[in-house]
Symmetry: C3
């Protein structure tokens, strides 16, 4: 397949770098270590500074103070990491907008409303009254339930499932295996037997939301589950019914958030955390990997739980002692009173 | 789409409440705070009692002692939460029984046996000799392997995968992305290389089982993996080969259960737990969120592991100390001997 | 469906056991406890030795020292567990090679290249320029993106998703719901808003790799994510972008590995672990269940973190004390100085 190419001069304009006059062609991006002469690279971390000397990259995004260390062509920008992020869009096949082909193998309800330039791949299914806005692409074998609304330019990968009445904003990315709108885990216990509480709410995603592969976002019990604008969710995250997540919060893989918890804006939650239900986590909170959060966090900061790794035999001795920790405090108190 | 409507009088009959004479129409359910005049609400938690006064709900499910506090119409029941659960079924589009349409876009083996009123959506696949009983609905793009048996009125959502020889009881719900019958993780190590142990057992689910989105239940190595009647499984749970789960046990999201472990009846296991293999967990056991269970539990009770969250810097100091906990016990013992 | 049958004499040859002269027919495998006269069983664990006397199995794989304890026919092998593993392949329907049928309901790009004896099930989708080698089987509703390469005899189950440019070796098994090549979780923060870093690398799997159900392996940011030969991955594992996993490493269910971490060869990582990003884990490392690994492991050994389960009320008292552990060390130090 033909690769996209840009001259270094063009890249300077596209990435907001200082003007450069060079027709040298760039057809991809690499790390300082791996980039070839036809590739762009970048320096965003002082740790890699020494690699500037030996890098074979055809051009390098750097901040002003490193301009003279670049052996090939320096593309000088205020923030090389952000410029790199923007450059990735130029070289990404999947970032192109929808081509406007609806596969004849897709199953589209007659009552669904599709804008003109929508792409629908083979065996995708679009339910009754769904509204698919301009520029949306829907991957192969994905299912969009009845009464869903998909905002402009949102890309839905293959094998995604949207149940009925899911609303997704503009410019979102939903990765394969994600399931939006399955029933929240609501049951009433009647003398030992569980009676299902049918989940009547929906799911609403803002604009620019990314949902990772195999992530699940349950529909609300009565009100909706709500994901704010610009929220980024990694793979295999579980968002239970009626969770509310504020704008621009980032959550890493395999974290689970139980029902009705509200997460603020601009939080970062690392991977493999568990957050119990009905909590409030304030704006700007940071949570480290594999933490259990079972109380509300009302003042921003960084929070953790758990213990750190150690050799197994040593850990075993300590872990056994943990079960007597309260007793140890009493023993020390007694000693202090002597 | 037309909404279903009931008069308050009808609802009283349907939900087993004290008789009420009112033709006021109800078309949905809301919380005390959000319900409108055409919606039903309920009070099941003392915390919300004060909202009875201000609620706009057209009717409210309450226990006898709160009947006089309802501003609109009180629907008096013994247990408002159970009555609410039953009410959700009345207003849920997805709870309706199968319509009996087999999509012409589905792929159904000639040797499969489908009862009369079975619904099969577009691009679903039903394998050889599968038996699909009356009232079953199978969602778009789901796959039912050869020799599967699906009990009456079971609802299988879109994008579900059932491998070969999976048996599912009546009135179950299987959510999207669930995978039943993938190979258990069985390998023999031969001088460093792993030799696959093909998994020859199946998976058997009882009646009224709920399986959450993206939950996986592996087939047994030789015997079957067995899920009892009335078991409810949330999203992203991993059930390994030959696990046996007793009736009416509830397991929350992201919990993992390793091979050959037996979980009793009426247990509740919170989210993000890990239960290691070959254990026995007795009936009525409760396990709190993110606990590691690595020993059998032979006497019922509530069990936990882990530590609780704290500010990160403080946690760091404590976590480092944990690695010297056994040593500290020795030091205290020494002091006590002085 | 007709079952496959072997005489005990044939099995002895096929499994490398000492020669046996018996035309007794075996049509399956069972545990010592459950096996019938037409089934093979095995003894690999001393714990079950007493069952040899009462087992109804038609033949039993044993090591030489147990030959005389078998009541039916002993199949004497050096390692009964490995012989059992090999026997499972004889009785497994799914282990048969591809039949060479491409379903007319599959959607195969005209530019894809399929070898002669490839099986493609209904509604599977194969993208442009994909190369599917001999003996590959592709399950129903699976999606293979453009420019993928699938090695000989690899079996891809139903509802699998391969994004573009994924390379899979020979003799691999990819289970349902697995997603290979979704975007790594890469974003640059620009004054609170997240700018997507499009992920330009791919995913490469070696030969004989097993990928469990609903496991996700993200594509690399610039370079590839790489899984070595003979790696076995259980269900619901998350492998982030640019992770590298060495040959023959085994990882159990629900473990998450963050970006750019390198795992060595012949490691065993138990279930529900979290390994943070940019670490190096050396060859032959063992990690126990639900451990958090946040530092590199440069010397092989067994490692753990966390605490062990205890009754909830007792745990609560100890967990509260953990938050004052550092303080306790200071108090003991003070006492020691008296």
């Amino acid at each position: 397949m033909a690769k996209r190419c840009f001259s270094v001069s063009e890249l300077a304009v596209l990435l907001g770098a200082e003007t450069v006059d060079s027709e040298h062609l760039i057809d991809g991006i690499g790390t300082l270590k791996s980039a070839t002469q036809s590739q762009l690279s970048f320096l965003h971390n002082g740790r890699y500074q020494s690699q500037l000397k030996t890098s074979q990259a055809g051009a390098v995004l750097v901040s002003p103070e490193h301009r003279d260390e670049v052996e090939s062509i320096a593309l000088v920008v205020a923030d090389p990491y952000i410029a790199y992020a923007r450059a990735t869009a130029l070289f990404c096949d999947q970032a192109v907008s929808a081509k406007g082909n609806v596969s004849p193998l897709a199953s589209v309800s007659e009552s669904a409303v599709l804008a003109d330039n929508v792409s629908v791949d083979a065996h995708a299914v679009i339910g009754d009254r769904a509204v698919i806005n301009s520029g949306v692409s829907l991957g192969a074998n994905s299912v969009v339930g009845a009464d869903c609304v998909i905002g402009e330019n949102t890309r839905i990968a293959a094998n995604v499932t949207l149940y009925n009445k899911i609303t997704i904003g503009a410019n979102c990315v939903i990765h394969s295996g994600a399931v939006l709108g399955a029933d929240g885990f609501g049951f009433a216990n009647n003398q030992g037997e569980w009676i299902k509480i049918h989940q009547l709410g929906g799911v609403r995603l803002g604009d620019r939301v990314e949902v990772g592969a195999n992530t699940t976002i349950d529909r609300g019990a009565l009100d909706d589950t709500v994901i704010g604008h610009g929220v980024i969710l990694d793979n295999q995250i579980q968002i239970a019914h009626n969770v509310i997540i504020g704008d621009n919060t980032a959550i890493a893989g395999c974290t689970a958030i139980a029902g009705s918890t509200r997460i603020g804006k601009n939080c970062t939650i690392a991977g493999a955390c568990a957050i119990t239900g009905h909590l409030t986590i304030t704006d700007g909170t940071h949570i480290t990997a594999m933490s259990l959060i079972s109380k509300s966090i009302l003042q921003a900061g960084a929070f953790s739980s758990g213990t750190v790794m150690e050799p197994h035999q040593q850990w075993k001795r300590n872990a056994v002692r943990f079960r007597h920790l309260d007793e140890l405090f009493h023993r020390v108190k007694k000693l202090e009173k002597l």
